[in-house]
Symmetry: C2
Subunit: 143 residues, 2 copies
DNA sequence: TTTTATGCAAAAGATTTGCACAGTA
DNA sequence: TACTGTGCAAATCTTTTGCATAAAA
């Protein structure tokens, strides 16, 4: 399964690539290179630069989606047909996936208005999650 | 006018802060710290770290909006009531502002579904601008 | 055997920080 | 004068790169 993904993109099948794909396939949320790296090295030896190189390659081939988040880190996720955006708590970093991507209609308009070919978009909401806002109001009441 | 903005946020009025605000007020597009810095130093002496510190402070106070873009750089713009999103060409970096922000309805739904307080969002479209796509097809036809 | 992937260490780029001095209120 | 802002240089953090070696086709 994974092997085919790699072969199909003219990439050699290696332990490290398989391991990185396995980690991302089992993750519900996008992960940073560091996060992916530190999980993978539980199973196979690998250098951090290989993690970066592999993630870069897989993103170029369209196997992964690469996204710079407002927290300054780069997140990677499987490029499944149905991509997801997220709502991130600026206090505790808890993250909620957003089910439907509402941008396709908007993109159609943009194409007509600007003549651009649109190849992607990034969308991220930030806010305060219920737990954190509870805690802050607790604190406010010295409770 | 600017002086009031600074006083209102308990910030001292300095030449450098005024200069940075002036640059951003006269810019139709968000700018990076480097871009702002290199314009400002035409008028007043200033170090790059002051530029970063000032931009950070003004963003914290809500006078500026700070945004990490998919190109890996951080962009700043005046926090006017009506913020803008952009469509950026991945080849030549030309940028088109998008007039209306279509996310408020979506945010309302999210608030109900997740219980988050939503404090902001980032949205950026990427694509190929008409010029660049013309050039690439020219190249394709060896023209 | 030829091509591609990897490790290691060093480099790069953007941003932040410590500390002494200068400027504003 | 008291407090805040600024310059400079060094530090930090994430990501990239050069080059020699190892692994895949």
């Amino acid at each position: 399964m994974d092997k085919n993904v790699l072969k199909f993109s003219d990439l050699k099948t290696t332990k490290r690539r398989m391991a990185i794909l396995a980690v991302l396939e089992n993750s519900a949320l996008p992960m940073t290179a560091e996060e992916i790296y530190s999980r993978v090295i539980n199973d196979v030896h690998m250098s951090l630069s290989t993690a970066y190189r592999t993630l870069g390659t897989l993103s170029e081939k369209g196997i992964l989606l690469k996204n710079l988040s407002q927290d300054g880190k780069t997140y990677y996720q499987m490029n499944s047909h149905q991509h997801k955006h997220h709502l991130v708590c600026t206090l505790c970093n808890s993250t909620v996936p957003i089910d439907d991507c509402p941008l396709s209609k908007i993109e159609e308009n943009l194409i007509q208005q600007t003549g651009f070919t649109i190849t992607g978009h990034s969308l991220e909401f930030s806010g305060i999650c219920p737990k954190c806002s509870k805690h802050s109001s607790d604190a406010g009441f010295n409770d």
